[in-house]
Symmetry: D2
Subunit: 339 residues, 4 copies
């Protein structure tokens, strides 16, 4: 059994990692840290884990647990770059779910996150953990930067056409996310009376996933592609729908588009190309759905996923499986809810 | 024009008072206080008031505005009892929307609110502002304690049968409220990812509206009636449904019950006895709907209202109209949304 | 008092017309038709109208009521063009809330609606009822085609920049609507278990508001502007957010954009240019909010409204006021809910 | 591998059975029937099953598939009693998810369901499939009547205290259910614009689960206990909260109550006694949470579950496991979502 630790076990992505890993056949959750809940039983804080984590208790720091094989860092940005160096030195493989290791361009990181990057060495080695596009790199990695939830949905939606070289310069992304994407700390925006029965554009032109999306898009597109990214808060708990619009370089028939996506995703377990994408079809699972429609000289591509699973903790476990040479599906092989 | 001030103009009940009063034909909003927004234009904070409050600005304290005729205190409990004495001395009529003046029994207040009551004199004079039952008292009052949202819904639902003397000893109230009832301060419970797609029992047996409900019930019932009150948080913004269960002293036919309610509410503007109560029928209005069904030797009575209107600010304006000898409906004569 | 009739009093837009008109000081609701509810009291079907429509009953046909001055047709497309000719002959002014009189180009109508247009004469005379842009035409009109809810939100969002001539050729509209926009007939898509806790793209590239939007856009833009229109169903009851993306012809500063919108809407009662548009700020009112952000060489403009009020029945009453030479605000002068 | 068939594969409970069984290690889904989708690939109708059901197609009738070992009937009441006799004759074990085999008292069935019961023989043999209370009977059964979703939540909440003999005569149940409990056929009540942003009491005193609940309650209580059952429709998709109120025969301390529940559920896998029950903690899983609070001489007991899993298809699989002598947890051993 692989001994796994999770730094940040109280928050939504840490809780979701626990929920997935507690039934993973090859893994044992050996440590969950939580400053505020240290010393408490995990299942007294997360009652949904009753019966799945024995009498495990939260600990203050990951260093209290010996002989860990693998660590997830499920903390806000800025924390992982303090924890990762020591883990790397100990030879512990690591996945960071924050933005700390996603942007290889240090000045870009510092501009968008507003503080210095203090672990540039590991930043250069970190692999971007989107298995459907970078599977081989992830297999050999010691450190994986798990993609953001918005970025995953957008790259899955646009990647195949970008790689096929048919996308003209600009991409407009109108993205909508459930509130769990904002994390567990109550704020004015995620207060139910603020965000219920409405949809709220926020961080227009200023969201930190923008450079991450542009970085990925550039890798596929070869040249620089501008991404206009407008996130909007939905009155739902889990789920993202990213609607991506772009002009195409030449006349494309719907059949051409379908062929490109079928080729890309036909053999994938977790990403499906479908006529009508549905958040409810993927929610509570590591599956994503992608759809693409030709509308004259424009194309709209939709990417849909559960932001806490394929958009965060599920994808991290998928990467872990690759890094540990396990079957990529292990512990994740469950359909979405449907209803 | 009556010059009105509102202490606490940022919160939900203060905002709702502004929304109602800004189109009231006999009233001018002369002052809105807000510690955090003092000096800002009101319509820059509450964009829904654009065009309705001119260039009015928030002020730090109500004493900055001279010649006020009427003041609403729309603050958490504990504040009104500091503000009201001076207002009373100046001869300014006053409605408090908090719990400070609802419980005439001082030890009961201090037990449930956890601090001393510092204005016992005015407490004894305060009238409970439920016009459908205490209209005449409100007309002559200088100080009105506006009922709580839960209490209003429950008293409207049970009052007629209590007054008719047919209710056996106990009442069980299973109440459900939208999140705006909890106010504008973000908390863990009202965080969307906590309270969305679920319903949460809270403060079971410990909610501060319990003594208020029991006090009112006792006035109707003559003898002491125990109220078991279980509030639950709904994933909606506005609206309360209180389902009230009790045994009846003797065999009651549905027709008997209907007659009692029709007699009580037949001439009321804002309370309607209907076969199927509906939050959507009353939301955004000062209307309430009440329904009552005989189920063998039990009766269930439903009370439905918009917690920010008939459950708070609308009812306060209804009381103000009475206190100012205006037509009770003035400024409130608008149907609920329906859809 | 102007005697008003509503054809289609059961549906959402007919109900909303009743809700608004029942407190309108210059108008009397003299007739509401409903095939399924003929003979029933209106307030037994719409309990929210209790106390506002006396003992008015639904009638089978509008012709049963004599001496009407004004008629609203609140029926699905195809019905108005059968009713309007006779009303016009009788000299009764008329507003159609369906798509029957919006598209002056008959072949375009027949292509998108799938049946013949049988009242081409009146079609040519009908005025498009968007007061903020066509106020003078509406004043003199006998027949007004009330705009669609999506179209209103989009034209309000884009109109000022289109008129200013700064928009490059294409517009991409990512629109989101609450379920009441789909009407009162239960369908698989509007079944709560289908559309709750999700957002569903539908009619992608095939929605009937597309030609209406393009028609309006062309009037402003001078030349033909292609509109890519993608509607999505939100899990809310009332409200539309249309996010409109386009390239601009030349470098535009945010200040330039702000100036254009301020000039257009600065004196409007019902449309406000704001930094952060909010459905909750306008819901239950005839107000709309518009916002526009420069994002490099792109602009995103947001249009927000209550689809049943400014997107349908409220706007129809606003047009009626103009057609009857009343103050445009009469009966509509109420702020949105805010919370 | 056990070859399983599902009669009614399109509806919500049939879909949910497929979702659970497709990853069950000891079972193969050999047949799914659907009149409307016969001949179509299952994953073209239920896109969430892509990759989990191969190229399985819906069939018209269960008799088309040979050598089935086990059949679930997931159809509205009235259908199972036509299908079950032939299955029993063929020696195929069977679970019916409708109400057809729940009420052993034929006249009671016929009164509440409004038609004759045509399979009284099997009705007498059917075992009520609530494993936490009737595990041994289920193990030996050929035919199991799967409990209703409301009934499960209520019996789990009240059963321990009923068995302990501390409940006085009456039980009041205020139950709240998500819309998926009403099935997949669109109706006026489950139309989003009707049931969104509200909570709707329905079938007050007339719901068909009432006799089922009373039957179970009587088994525990020894004597007849009256149940006042008021269901209410929540604006959520999945989840039930049943709040059950009753007087207790003698003074009970909270510790006494806790001990009774701990004893009943301490060793159960799927039912947990917790301080604060949460729909989100159990949603998407076969877990239920139960909580009970002493409030003076009253007790409120809460039962919480996912109506499609522990309230329907998950519980059916739990019963199947017992009937097949498999580990009861097989295929169901997954925590609820938590967030």
């Amino acid at each position: 059994m692989v001994k796994v630790g999770i730094i940040g076990g109280t928050g939504y992505t840490g809780g979701e990692l626990s929920r997935i890993l507690c039934t993973h056949p090859d893994v044992e959750i050996a440590a969950l840290t939580s400053r505020q809940n240290a010393g408490k039983r995990v299942d007294s804080v997360h009652s949904y884990l009753k019966g799945y984590v024995g009498d495990l208790e939260f600990t203050e720091s990951i260093s209290e647990t010996k002989d860990l094989d693998f660590v997830f860092v499920a903390m806000p940005h800025g924390v992982a770059m303090k924890e990762v160096p020591s883990l790397m030195e100990q030879g512990i493989k690591c996945i960071d779910l924050s933005g700390d290791y996603r942007l290889h361009d240090v000045p870009v990181y510092e501009k968008w996150y507003g503080h210095e990057h203090t672990d540039v060495d590991n930043l250069q080695k970190a692999v971007y953990g989107l298995p459907e596009f970078f599977r081989d790199e992830i297999r050999g990695a010691d450190l994986v930067a798990n993609p953001g939830c918005y970025a995953t949905s957008i790259i899955l939606a646009c990647g195949p056409l970008l790689k096929a070289g048919v996308v003209a310069e600009d991409i407009i992304v109108d993205a909508k996310s459930g509130t769990s994407g904002a994390g567990m700390v109550p704020t004015e925006r995620t207060h139910h009376s603020t965000c219920g029965e409405t949809i709220i554009p926020y961080s227009v032109g200023k969201h930190r996933h923008t450079p991450e999306i542009e970085m990925a898009v550039d890798r596929f597109a070869g040249s620089h592609t501008k991404v206009t990214f407008v996130p909007q808060l939905l009155p739902i708990v889990r789920g993202i729908l990213s609607s991506c619009y772009f002009s195409v370089k030449k006349d494309l028939a719907q059949e051409d588009v379908d062929r490109i996506y079928d080729k890309q995703y036909g053999k994938e377990t977790f990403v499906h190309y479908v006529p009508e994408p549905s958040i409810r079809a993927v929610v509570a699972s590591n599956h994503a759905q992608v759809s693409s429609k030709v509308l004259g000289d424009k194309v709209v591509s939709f990417g849909v996923l559960d932001n806490l699973v394929k958009g965060a903790s599920g994808q991290a476990v998928q990467c872990m499986n690759l890094m540990l040479n396990l079957d990529e599906k292990t512990g994740l092989n469950i359909p979405g809810l449907g209803v």
